[in-house]
């Protein structure tokens, strides 16, 4: 089978790249294992929240010169970065994913533990705050669904109270949840969202919440609504008689999964091919070009393309794999940023920056990955497979995924 571009990896980066290419008329296929990091989303995208030394960043574009030479943003370059930033909201909007937030300035997201975190753009069920001190209002009614353990209401209340909001915590019991509750593992975000998507359950929730409101100006709910589409979110917002704010939960993330499904649908509607539940294997190289790939499901059938995009992710997605001796890129055997001495992989404090997070593929300035010291001409690496920066420490994981995907798509289109 032959494509213009074959993308390995169906996470945020692979889908963005695929959609951009397919919309430009390039015949594109994505090989995807299934679950990916979007299922564990915070509901927001970070562009650059901190510099490597921990300094907080308010306007990412103004500090790009402070990033190291290996940071993917440095490779994209400041002009291209500025141009791409303004394409992100329209790009997602036409895929059915409206985003909130300012393009050139970080906002604050309240996390499930009630802490304020600098983010760039957020999925539209999330409510962003303009600065580090503001709150949603003066009095909050935090409502959980009784028995749901992944929404820590007291942590959230403590965080909001530090911002000067008075909080009251309540839990509502809905008859529609009885079936979930009777099974000890069913009261999880995705299952709740499925129950809430259909039928009358959301109306009962709205009524119950309205009965609980006294003098509060804000109602806070867990972001466990709108699995298939966002209609129920809008309906709840309209039904509750004060401002309603949704806050993220422990994984899996309903807003993240919904967005991933929409990107995938947009890609398929544009004519792209998803090879789902499959895994790329057996690369054949000629010189510095990748000639073809196999997959586990396709057996003898080979996949060929003019361009290949590696969007295979880092350790979690098995884009990288560590043995006691070394870190490897398992599909193509790419060159990596990663020392062999295992003692240098970790910080012993869990909350200190972990060296291994910065491990990943080495590329040239055009995102062609290196293999045996030589750049692969028709291969690109994007997203969290890329090495050279600590995306957790710097809060730039989603930004790298989206912007390297768009930058590489542009290169392929303009080649």
């Amino acid at each position: 089978m032959r494509y213009d571009t074959l993308i390995i990896g169906g996470g945020l980066s692979g889908l963005v790249c695929g959609l951009q290419l397919q919309q430009a008329g390039r015949k594109t296929a994505i090989v995807s294992a299934g679950q990916n990091a979007m299922h564990f989303s915070s509901g927001a995208f970070g562009l650059l929240s901190r510099l490597e030394d921990g300094t907080p960043v308010d306007e990412p574009l103004t500090v790009l010169d402070k990033l190291g030479p290996d940071h993917p943003y440095t490779k994209i370059g400041p002009e291209k970065m500025a141009a791409l930033l303004h394409t992100v909201k329209p790009f997602f909007a036409q895929a059915g994913i409206p985003l909130a937030g300012e393009e050139s300035r970080n906002s604050f997201l309240i996390t499930p533990t009630g802490n304020g975190k600098r983010v760039w753009l957020a999925l539209d069920d999330m409510t962003l705050l303009p600065d580090g001190d503001s709150a949603f209002g003066s009095k909050a009614l935090i409502v959980n669904l009784k028995g749901y353990l992944d929404f820590n209401t007291s942590f959230l209340a403590e965080g909001l109270e530090r911002r000067g909001m008075k909080c009251r915590i309540e839990a509502v019991e809905l008859p529609e949840m009885n079936r979930l509750r009777s099974n000890p593992t069913e009261m999880r975000s995705v299952n709740i969202a499925r129950v809430m998507d259909g039928g009358e359950a959301w109306k009962h929730l709205v009524a119950a919440v309205n009965r609980l409101i006294t003098d509060e100006d804000t109602v806070i709910l867990p972001a466990v609504f709108g699995f298939a589409d966002g209609a129920v979110i809008q309906a709840i917002r309209e039904g509750i008689r004060v401002r309603t704010v949704f806050i993220g939960t422990m994984p899996p993330s309903v807003p993240g999964i919904r967005s991933q499904m929409r990107l995938k649908k947009a890609f398929e509607l544009a004519g792209g091919t998803m090879l789902l539940g499959d895994q790329a294997t057996a690369p054949v190289f000629r010189g510095s070009r990748l000639e073809s790939l196999g997959t586990v499901n396709l057996g003898e059938v080979r996949l060929e393309a003019d361009h290949y995009v590696m969007a295979t992710g880092s350790f979690f997605s098995k884009g990288l794999w560590a043995t006691p001796q070394r870190v490897e890129e398992p599909l193509l055997g790419l060159d990596l940023y990663a020392p062999e001495d295992r003692n240098r992989w970790y910080a012993t404090d869990f909350f200190a920056p972990q060296e291994y997070i910065a491990f990943g593929a080495r590329t040239d300035a055009g995102f062609h990955p290196l293999r045996g010291g030589q750049a692969l001409e028709n291969v690109y690496a994007i997203g969290s497979l890329l090495g050279g920066c600590n995306a957790v420490q710097m809060g730039c994981g989603a930004g790298i995924a989206i912007l390297t995907a768009l930058a590489v798509a542009d290169r392929i289109i303009n080649e």
Partner: protein, 534 residues
């Protein structure tokens, strides 16, 4: 300042202290137990959890072997909800001397340990994970024992019989009057408050920390810390304890424990300063994996969950304080006859599974000193939770058709599982999917088992001990703790502490799936929860 009087103060909340507190309380004494951290925080919770048959010591130390088999049979009766009667195999590999087997079996039998030679084929059938290259095998009544559960059950029974327990409270100095220890001064690490407690006898059951405790009383106990490193594998790869049939060496015991397997151990003398900050080194990890794979080759491809280390309190013989001649048996020191200090005794040495005998000996001494005539009953009276003859019977008393999660609960709590409310669906939802721990069980620990933080809850419930190492259940449990009235800011700090503690056991073995799990945790706690923002 808190001032109270007791018959006996026991210092140390490991299994020895808990067992001694229980024995003393059962004999009618008024008991206070003081522990500077949590129960089972030291060596008690950092070993194999092996219920020795004694076979391991049969050739080198008959006395220990005899003690082990007697205690093994007692614990299988009185602590059955803490014990897994797996049996054990001592295997000979081609590189081992098969001639050792005959001596081994002979010496086992002399110590009263049933030891049956079985042929390699039979061994492979009994335990398919065993190294198929084995040339000989002996079956013995080894088993495994859950040290946390065992300590908690002893502590609970002591309290049921009137004992007071102070956790997170450190003995800062002794009250000594006329050459007699008459009590202790304490510092409560939670509240910062000082206390003073008087007693007629004080027992030092501090494990390796007993060295420093004795010094505070002005007496010397020649102890030497010996670090032992172990690895936890993510599956119960073998259902039977596997040992090497040779003289005891490094990394030659593999013990199944609940859903996991534990390989160990090493033995390295360390300075006292390291006892509170032990780290497992890459060399130790490599040795454990290599040697472990000789017992069960599948270990080479099994995910490692955690690395950890404990400190054995080795005690120098009084006749040779240099430490060259080490006693591995039970050591009971009467400081009145030994050092002229009345009212003070030290109980140390021994093993996790000989704790009951250690407690009996220490309590006998206390009773003798206090002129109390009461016989030891711990050989026959079951621990709370072990009243039913079997766990099936215990579960059957509570549920008509127990689910797997309910069976897991009964496994952990025995008959005490009945305390968890039944009519409430919310109590039955799972906090920890890996270990099947319910909301009710966590709340039970919060309400009844003296917990102050997430790590304490882990020791009592196994929350966070499974494959995910606490990613999701840590946060869920923190929520339950906050609901139970713990200060929320403290609960957040506590959650961070819990993740730090989990990572400490992961980074020495962080490759493969463990590194994936580590990266996922980084993502969840930083990116999603923003816990690093605070």
């Amino acid at each position: 300042m808190d001032k109270k009087e007791y018959d006996v103060i026991i210092i140390g909340g490991g299994i020895t202290g808990a067992g001694t507190a229980r024995d003393c309380a059962l004999r009618g004494l008024k008991v206070l137990l003081i522990e500077r951290k949590d129960i089972a925080d030291g060596a008690t919770g950092r070993n194999h959890g092996l219920l020795h048959s004694g076979a391991r010591y049969a050739v080198t130390d008959q006395e220990s072997a005899t003690e082990c088999i007697e205690e093994n049979m007692i614990l299988k009766r009185v602590a059955r909800h803490c014990v897994d009667d797996t049996t054990g195999l001592f295997i000979s590999l081609p590189e081992d001397d098969l001639g050792f087997q005959a001596t081994f079996v002979e010496r086992c039998r002399q110590a009263g340990i049933q030891a049956d030679i079985i042929d390699p084929e039979e061994a492979r059938r009994l335990e398919p994970s065993v190294n198929p290259a084995l040339i000989g095998a002996v079956r013995v009544p080894d088993g495994s024992v859950d040290p946390f559960r065992l300590t908690a059950a002893n502590m609970l029974d002591a309290k049921l019989h009137g004992a007071d327990v102070l956790l997170y409270t450190e003995v800062t100095s002794f009250l000594i009057e006329n050459g007699t220890v008459v009590g202790v001064r304490t510092l409560d690490h939670k509240s910062g408050e000082k206390g003073e407690y008087r007693s007629r006898m004080t027992v030092n059951a501090g494990g390796i920390w007993g060295h420093g405790i004795a010094e505070k009383a002005g007496v010397q106990v020649g102890m030497f810390p010996a670090k032992g490193a172990l690895l936890i594998f993510a599956h119960r790869v073998a259902d039977i304890v596997l040992n090497r049939c040779r003289k005891p060496a490094n990394a030659d015991i593999l013990v199944p424990g609940e859903t996991v397997s534990i390989i160990g151990t090493t033995s390295t003398r360390i300075p006292f300063e390291e006892c509170d900050h032990m780290q497992v080194t890459p060399d130790e990890v490599n040795l454990l994996v290599t040697e472990g794979a000789k017992l069960a080759p599948i270990l080479e491809h099994t995910r490692i969950l955690r690395a950890y280390a404990g400190v054995r309190p080795l005690v120098a013989s009084d006749s040779d304080p240099s430490g060259r001649s080490i006693s591995r048996g039970i050591v009971l020191l009467d400081h009145e006859t030994r050092d002229g200090l009345k009212g003070f005794a030290t109980i140390t040495g021994g093993k996790l599974m000989t704790y009951r005998l250690m407690a009996e000996k220490a309590t006998d001494l206390v009773c003798r000193k206090l002129g109390v005539e009461a016989a030891c009953v711990t050989r026959t009276v079951p621990l709370p939770g072990s009243e039913s003859a079997t766990l099936e019977e215990a579960a059957g008393k509570i549920w008509a058709a127990p689910t797997t999660a309910q069976k897991a609960t009964v496994g952990r709590l025995g008959d005490n599982a009945g305390r968890i409310p039944l009519d409430d669906v919310y109590s039955q939802s799972l906090v920890c999917e890996c270990e099947e721990v319910t909301v009710g069980e966590v709340n039970n620990a919060i309400d009844h088992l003296d917990v102050h933080n997430l790590v304490d809850i882990r020791r009592r419930t196994r929350v966070g001990m499974g494959t995910c190492q606490g990613e999701l259940c840590g946060c869920r449990t923190a929520g339950l703790l906050a609901k139970a009235g713990v200060c929320t800011r403290k609960a957040k700090e506590d959650l961070k502490g819990f993740m730090r503690e989990r990572w400490k056991g992961m980074y020495p073995i962080a490759w493969g799936d463990t590194l994936r799990e580590g990266e996922y945790s980084q993502w969840v706690y930083s990116e999603v929860l923003g816990l690093n923002e605070d």
